[in-house]
Symmetry: C2
Subunit: 237 residues, 2 copies
Amino acid sequence: MSSEEHPAPPAAPGKKARLSREIVLSTALTLVDAEGLDALTMRRLGQELGRDPMSLYRYAANRAALLDGVSELVLNELAIIPDDPDWQSQLRRIAHDLRLLALRHPNVVPLLVTRPLSTPLGLRPLGTLRPLEQILSLLIDAGFAPVDALHVYRAYYGYLYGHILNELQEFVVDPEENEALLRLGLHRLPPKEFPRLRALAPVLADYDGMAELDEGITILLSGLAARLPLPEAPAKP
Amino acid sequence: MSSEEHPAPPAAPGKKARLSREIVLSTALTLVDAEGLDALTMRRLGQELGRDPMSLYRYAANRAALLDGVSELVLNELAIIPDDPDWQSQLRRIAHDLRLLALRHPNVVPLLVTRPLSTPLGLRPLGTLRPLEQILSLLIDAGFAPVDALHVYRAYYGYLYGHILNELQEFVVDPEENEALLRLGLHRLPPKEFPRLRALAPVLADYDGMAELDEGITILLSGLAARLPLPEAPAKP
DNA sequence: GCAACTTCTCTACAATGTAGACTGTAGGCG
DNA sequence: CGCCTACAGTCTACATTGTAGAGAAGTTGC
C-alpha cells in the first residue's frame, strides 16, 4: 500500500470530493476526540462526511477495522527519529512525546491499550508495530544484544503505558473542575474504609504527571542499564 | 436442563433459587471468562440464569454497571493482607498475585483498565479502590509520608498494569500454539521495515512474564527506596 | 384472606452493524 | 459515438443490542 501519490485535495476537502481512507480515518479521529468512542458509529461518521454510512465499508472492512485505523493514525503522530545517540535520553524523549500524544487524544487511549489484546502481533496494523521496531532498532544500535533490547523495551513500554493509564484515570475531566469533582467524589467514600485515600484528596488534585513519568523512567532506565551488559559508549566516534 | 431444587444459597449456584447480585455477577464473570466480553449481553446472561433478561436490571442499573460489578468481583480476588512487615516484599507479592489474577481472567483485563478511564475516582465501585487504599496504608505503615506513599503507589501500580497489558498482548492465545501463530503472524510483516521484530520471533515466543515482572519490580522498588526519605525499619520491635 | 412489598416477565422500541442488490459515473475499446 | 466493465456510493432490509413501562407472580406481615 504505497498510498502517497495523491496530495490532491489538501486545500479544501469541502463537501463533495471523492472519499479516501485518510479522509475517513481522520474524520473518525476528530469525531472521537470531540465526542468519545461511543459517538463513532457508522451512521454518525457517514453523516459527518455527508455520505451514506455504507460507503464507509469501502475503506474499512468493519467497525473494528475502523477502530484499528484510528489507533494507527494516532500512533503515526509519534515520531521516532534517532537523532540523539544516547539511548536513555532518546527513550525519555519518546516517553514524554507519547504521554503528550495520549493527553491530546485521551479518548483513543482505550483503543491503543485494548485492541492489541485481541489481535495477535503479526496481524496488527503496521503503524502500531512501528514504534516497537524502531525502539528495538534504537537499542540494538546503542549496543544492546537483541534479547536485551527486547527486555529493555518491555520494561520501558510497560511502565510508560501504565503511567499513561494511571494519569488519565486520575484526570477524567479538565483540571479546572478536577479538584472540585475529585473532592466531591471522594466525599462519597466511607471514611472508615478509606481514610488514607480521603486524606490524600488535596495531593491527588495536583498531580504532576510529567514529573512522575520522568522520575519513573529515570529509575527504570538506570536500573536496566546497571543490570545489563552494555558495551559502554557505542562505536560512533 | 434438570431443575434441581437447591435451597442452599452458598454452596451451589443452583437453577431456580432467587437471584442475587452475587449470583448474577459471578455468572457474568464465568461467561466472560469462557467466551469473552462480547458474549456478555443481557439476553445471554438472562438465558444463562434461566431468567428473563429484564430481571437483571434489579441487580445492576444497566450494562455498564454490570461490567463494573464484574471488575469489582475480580479485584476482590486480590487479597492484600499485611502479614509481612517488609513493604518491598509485600508489594512484590501483590504484584505477582495481580499478574496471576489477570492471567486467570484475561478477558476482564480490558475492563479493569478501561472502565476507570470514564469514571471519576470517587464514583468507582468500592472494591476497585480497596487495593489502592490498602497499598497506601501499607506504605504509610512502613514509614512513608502519605505523599511519598502515593508517589510509590503510582510508579508501582503503573508499571504493574503496564506489564500485565504487555504480557497479555503478547500472549493472545494459549502458549501451545502461541509459537506457531506468532511466527505465522510475524511472517506477514514486510522484512524491510521490520527486520528486528522478525529476527526476535523465537525469543518472543518464550516470554517469561513472571521473571520480567519481578525484575522490573525490583528495579523500581529499590530505585524508589533509594530516592525517598524512609525512616529505615519501622518502629516495630 | 387481604394488602403491600419485591421479584420476575412480557411487549415494544429505538439504535446499532452490516448483507445484498441497486444506481450512477468514468474510462477503455470497438 | 455506443457499448461494456469496474468501481464509488446508495437504498432497503434485517438481526441484534440495551432498555423503558406495564403488568404478573410470588412472598411476607397482619
